[in-house]
């Protein structure tokens, strides 16, 4: 929203204040000013010049080669294509290096072989109007070398307001509203809006019918005759519109725009002669009805859209845009000027359905003051009659319905006001702040009875706290002294889940060299299909941002795999982890079920002849074990029973809180299935995904008690044993037997080597263990070691293998 300070100055004296100061006042008291433009800045480089010679271009029929005097030592040679260029003409000239609107920089150029240094401008090029038939002709008395903006007298500052900070303020969608704010902030007089006070005697044959009084509670139609057709609007009107970026068209259109920008009420001028009747009806669109709007788009209407219609057809989309068929044109001499009250939400819906957000719909959807409907006609009539002596009104406007603003009287407690704002305020401070903004205040015992003005009562100010805000912002929030709250000191309860996650985060990043990541919650069907995940398992969005973000993640596996894949080119190995929420669809339309996950994705190039003890999968297991240990858990690992399509059929382990089928499942880790790895673009890489259920880990960790085992003071003995065993036996199966052989004396056991081939028989592999034996009460002797080796040997033989020494 753009606000011209010259225009605001019509209604409040701000001549002593700089644009910067006004912008600051509005930002601090009313709404956010995003920028200040000085009118004419975009054409500041353009100067008044004169064509001193003009000859046809030797090589082009339509071009002229001119010499332009513009105040520099030497005249410039300029090639110009306009038909109205001629010797002696005063022109608007942009010399080389000048900048024109749209950041268009003028450079030296060659046109059909002739050098051109600068540009002679049209009105459109200067954004002064749409005029582009020829170059702008300046009067003969224009002084060569002066800046065009000075010649035109363009000196205004325009504030750019953030529309988002105005959505709740229907009164701020026109200049008068800002004048009212500034008058209140500065405590200065607000000059009333000049309007036509009394309608002329006479009657009109217009008849208005409201078929939907919810959609349109009130409608006014003013008939105006003009002797001549539309003309150019008065210079001041044009200048003001230009200043805020509106291109002048003709006086009838310009005046409706002017009134809209001034008081915020949209009006619309129909060419009365193009209507098929003088009966107007405001009704719902009919099934299948269409309307060509002013922008020449033919629009299919919805039966929920409200239209203005004559006897035969819709002539306007209510509150949004007029129809092309009844548009004011050069030959128009009779107009119907519409000003109405339209339902805010319904106007917005229609504007959305038709994807047409107009200056009018933007305002109607804010719940405008109903009193403005007739006020706008009076203002229009006042301006038109001043500008056009040939204009004639037939009398008061025809009308239907009632334009009634809600009457809101609120009780306000001045003491509560001061307390909530944390300001030192007297009753009169409170009352005066409100009065300056147009509220009427009556004392009523310890309270104030406050009547809300109609321009604020439609939706903005409806409760006591709304009044408190008015007082606060008018007094100025800079008056508030920051003060610590006084309350008993109570240590806030800690969230143990969060604390656990923080500990694991530190551990993963610090010890396991993982990078904490964040990935998007929305997933692509295609990627999920490649991962062989059934799409029906996912929560579906009704209006996704795009088709590739249609589903909500259940866990971070797919999105972290995507991130891993995107990293391959620059980082052939890495580890990403994320703590994330996942959602699963619930039955019967209940809210989706939430789960909290920790996911780690690790990737690295495939290594030839890599020991399984050094593989990424083995490292991932160590990491999962360590994460669990950090949570106080020592879980039981077993081959995962669930068949995950993306997981390797064998390299997939699940962790349970303890041994046994009833033990809670804490999570699992798996290598990516080799087939899938290729499809996903991971060929040549090993990828391991760990997915841990944080709720289950947290629950299990609650029963884990911190414990300590006193280190033994007695020496232990290290015993290395290597066993040749059938390769079909899993490590887990062997480990149980070796541990059993160690019995109570076994202090620790570690697998330190693993190999196949060599001197081993085919189908066998060697497992080398390092055991530490220790007793709590005596020093072990060689006999103990031999006993252990004997038992291990027997175990190996039971398993179909032998001791290798």
């Amino acid at each position: 929203m753009k606000i011209s300070l010259n225009w605001v100055g019509d209604f409040v004296d701000i001549s002593d204040l700089s644009a910067e100061r006004i912008a600051e006042l509005l930002s601090l008291h009313t709404a956010e000013v995003e920028g200040i433009e000085t009118v004419g800045d975009a054409i500041a480089d353009v100067v008044v010049a004169q064509v001193v010679s003009c000859d046809p271009h030797p090589d082009a029929d339509k071009l002229s080669v001119t010499s332009v005097e513009y105040g520099a030592a030497e005249p410039a040679q300029v090639v110009c294509g306009a038909s109205n260029v001629r010797k002696g003409l005063k022109i608007a000239f942009a010399p080389v290096k000048a900048c024109l609107p749209g950041d268009f920089k003028i450079k030296k150029a060659k046109l059909r072989g002739v050098t051109s240094c600068g540009m002679i401008c049209s009105e459109r090029e200067l954004e002064l109007s749409e005029e582009h038939a020829g170059i702008l002709e300046l009067p003969d008395d224009a002084v060569v070398g002066t800046r065009l903006v000075d010649h035109l007298g363009l000196s205004d500052s325009v504030l750019d307001l953030d529309n988002k900070s105005l959505t709740h303020r229907p009164d701020l969608w026109g200049h008068y509203g800002f004048a009212r704010e500034l008058a209140a902030i500065l405590n200065r007089e607000l000059i009333p809006l000049p309007v036509l006070e009394a309608w002329p005697e006479g009657s009109t044959d217009l008849a208005i019918e409201l078929a939907d009084t919810q959609g349109c509670p009130a409608y006014f139609g003013l008939a105006v005759d003009l002797q001549d057709g539309p003309k150019a609007a008065p210079a001041l009107i044009q200048e003001r519109l230009l200043a805020i970026g509106q291109r002048p068209v003709n006086d009838l259109v310009d005046l409706t725009n002017y009134v809209l920008q001034e008081i915020g009420q949209p009006t619309h001028a129909f060419d009365l002669d193009k209507l098929s009747s003088s009966d107007i009806v405001v009704r719902l669109a009919k099934q299948g009805e269409s309307l060509t709007t002013l922008d020449d788009e033919n629009r299919e209407l919805d039966a929920r859209d409200l239209v203005i219609a004559d006897k035969s057809a819709a002539i306007a989309l209510a509150g949004v845009m007029g129809g092309a068929a009844t548009e004011v044109g050069d030959s128009t001499t009779r107009i119907l000027l519409e000003s109405a009250v339209f339902h805010p939400v319904r106007t917005r819906r229609t504007s959305q359905r038709t994807a047409l957000r107009s200056e009018a719909s933007m305002r109607f959807e804010k719940s405008l003051d109903p009193n403005l409907a007739e006020q706008a006609l009076r203002r229009f009539a006042y301006l038109l009659l001043n500008a056009r002596p040939d204009a004639r009104l037939h009398g008061a406007p025809a009308s239907a319905g009632l334009a009634v603003a809600p009457e809101t009287i609120l009780a306000l407690c001045p003491e509560r006001t001061a307390r909530l704002l944390g300001m030192d305020l007297s009753v009169s401070d409170v009352a005066q702040s409100l009065e300056r903004l147009g509220f009427q205040v009556e004392p009523q015992g310890r309270l104030l009875s406050v009547q809300v003005p109609t321009w604020r009562s439609t939706k903005d100010v409806t409760t006591e706290v709304d009044l408190i805000e008015e007082v606060g912002r008018l007094q100025g929030y800079d008056q508030i002294q920051a003060t610590p709250i006084q309350a008993p000191i109570v240590a806030p309860p800690r969230d143990p889940r969060r604390q656990l996650e923080h500990r694991l985060t530190q551990r993963l990043a610090g010890v396991h060299h993982c990078f904490e990541s964040q990935s998007y919650s929305f997933l692509d069907d295609v990627w999920l299909e490649r991962l062989s995940l059934p799409l029906s398992d996912f929560v579906v969005l009704d209006n996704p941002i795009s088709d590739s973000m249609r589903l909500v993640r259940r866990d971070p596996v797919p999105s972290l795999l995507e991130q891993a894949h995107a990293n391959l080119r620059e980082r052939p190995s890495g580890q990403l982890f994320e703590f994330a929420k996942g959602y699963e669809p619930a039955v019967d339309g209940a809210a989706p079920i939430e789960r909290r996950w920790l996911c780690v994705v690790a990737w690295a190039p495939v290594q030839k002849n890599e020991s399984p003890l050094q593989s990424l999968f083995a490292h991932s297991r160590s990491m999962v074990e360590d994460v669990m240990a950090t949570a106080g858990l020592s879980p039981h690992f077993e081959p995962a029973d669930s068949v995950l399509a993306w997981a390797h059929p064998r390299l997939h382990m699940a962790a349970r809180a303890h041994r046994g089928p009833e033990a809670a499942r804490l999570g699992s880790f798996a290598a990516l299935h080799p087939h899938l790895a290729d499809d996903l673009g991971f060929d040549g890489y090993q990828v391991v995904v760990s997915l841990l259920d944080m709720s289950a880990i947290y629950e299990a960790s609650k029963s884990a008690k911190p414990s300590f085992r006193s280190p033994s003071r007695l020496p232990g003995i290290k015993v290395d044993v290597a066993l040749a065993l059938p390769a079909s036996l899993s490590y887990a199966e062997v480990e149980i037997e070796v541990r059993r052989a160690g019995g109570k004396l076994l202090d620790s056991l570690e697998l330190f080597d693993l190999f196949e081939g060599g001197t081993l028989e085919p189908g066998q592999r060697s497992l080398a263990f390092r055991a530490v034996l220790r007793a709590p009460d005596r020093t072990l002797v060689e006999k103990d070691e031999q006993k252990f080796i004997k038992k291990v040997t027997q175990a190996a033989e039971r398993l179909g293998g032998s001791l290798r020494g």
Partner: protein, 349 residues
């Protein structure tokens, strides 16, 4: 015998004198003093001497052996000192060589800033609350005093799970939460008043991503409800918080701002940390819009069964994504959720 001894003594001392490497010394040691060395041989041949001459000859031979051994040690010491001096002065030691890259992990800047702020708030007596990212319409809108026909509910702002019609617009829908403010409702309903809570988390909007906007971003909601809470308390809490984040006092100001769930509502601006007279970051204004906030609307308190005549409170929303971008000078919000290691590697902590 004695001549031979003197010969060997002379030979040994001369050789030691002339030697200038460990290898040479070692060679002399072996040649003279070793198991098969000349001096050892000589000692072995003592038996051939007459009995009465043996002690004196033995003593003389041992003296010579000790003398040579001592001289070798002296020469060794000198040699060692010389070698060390040569090494220290030499080119062999390049202190400028790079080390091997340590294996590294890192913490996401969004996580870091959230954890830091949680610490600041906990020290101020706030508890940390959490809420779902897929939220009920009632918590996201209705209870927050956002009317049924408010534009924010519409599809161009909110990402819905529930299809249109299906109870949506009447508080019965389900959507991706559009702000962390819904955790206000959950926390107030769960714990009642008085209460101090912050809630970090991700939120979602219908937004076409560009360098400063993403459809997914991070916020931290804060709320205090107690008896007699006023705007001056809000201002104090915000100032304390910013001091915690930036490590120094930050000049702030409140401006009017509109949010349906607070009244009065504010925007809190902080003095631009990057300039004194206006720059690109502050859009030449010297102020940076940092966080919206306000006094909790009585309708919100009522929706949570808290009597607004007894309690009042303030709420604020911190843009975590924005804070992170400001702190590190990150030029594009889309880095944050990219998972790109080249981005993540820059945040060790």
């Amino acid at each position: 015998m004695l001549e031979r001894l003197e010969e060997l003594r002379h030979e040994g001392l001369t050789a030691v004198e002339a030697s200038n490497s460990e290898d040479e010394l070692r060679e002399i040691e072996v040649r003279l003093l070793g198991r098969k060395g000349a001096l050892t041989d000589l000692l072995k041949s003592l038996g051939t001497l007459p009995k009465e001459d043996r002690p004196a000859a033995g003593q003389a031979a041992n003296r010579v052996k000790q003398e040579i051994a001592a001289q070798i040690e002296v020469a060794r010491g000198k040699l060692h000192a010389f070698n060390l001096a040569t090494d220290l002065a030499g080119d062999g030691l390049d202190a400028t060589l790079p080390g091997p890259k340590p294996p590294a992990g890192g913490l996401h800047p969004l996580g870091q800033i959230a954890r830091e702020l949680e610490d600041v708030f906990q020290s101020m007596g706030f508890r940390i609350a959490d809420g779902p990212e897929v939220e009920l319409e009632d918590n996201n809108f209705d209870a927050l005093n956002i009317p049924a026909d408010h534009p924010a509910r519409e599809s161009h702002d909110t990402i819905w799970v529930t299809p249109e019609g299906d109870g949506r617009g009447k508080g019965k829908g389900v959507c991706m939460r559009t702000h962390t403010s819904c955790v206000q409702i959950r926390a107030l309903r769960e714990h009642g008043a008085p209460l101090r809570v912050v809630a970090p988390g991700r939120v979602f909007r219908q937004e076409t991503p560009d360098p400063t906007h993403d459809h997914t971003f991070h916020q931290m909601e804060g709320l205090v409800v107690d008896k007699g809470v006023g705007v001056h308390h809000l201002l104090h809490a915000m100032n304390t918080l910013l001091e915690g984040v930036f490590g120094r006092k930050v000049e702030t100001r409140l401006r009017p701002g509109f949010f349906p769930f607070v009244e009065p509502g504010f925007e809190l601006d902080a003095r631009c940390p990057f300039c004194k007279t206006g720059c690109r970051v502050c859009k030449q204004s010297t102020w940076i819009e940092l966080m919206p906030g306000g006094m909790i609307h009585p309708n919100v308190l009522r929706a949570c069964d808290i009597d607004p005549d007894v309690y009042s409170g303030y709420a604020f929303g911190l843009g975590l994504s924005r804070m992170v971008m400001l702190r590190y000078g990150i030029d594009d919000i889309r880095w944050l959720l990219s998972g790109d290691l080249r981005f993540l590697e820059q945040f060790r902590a």
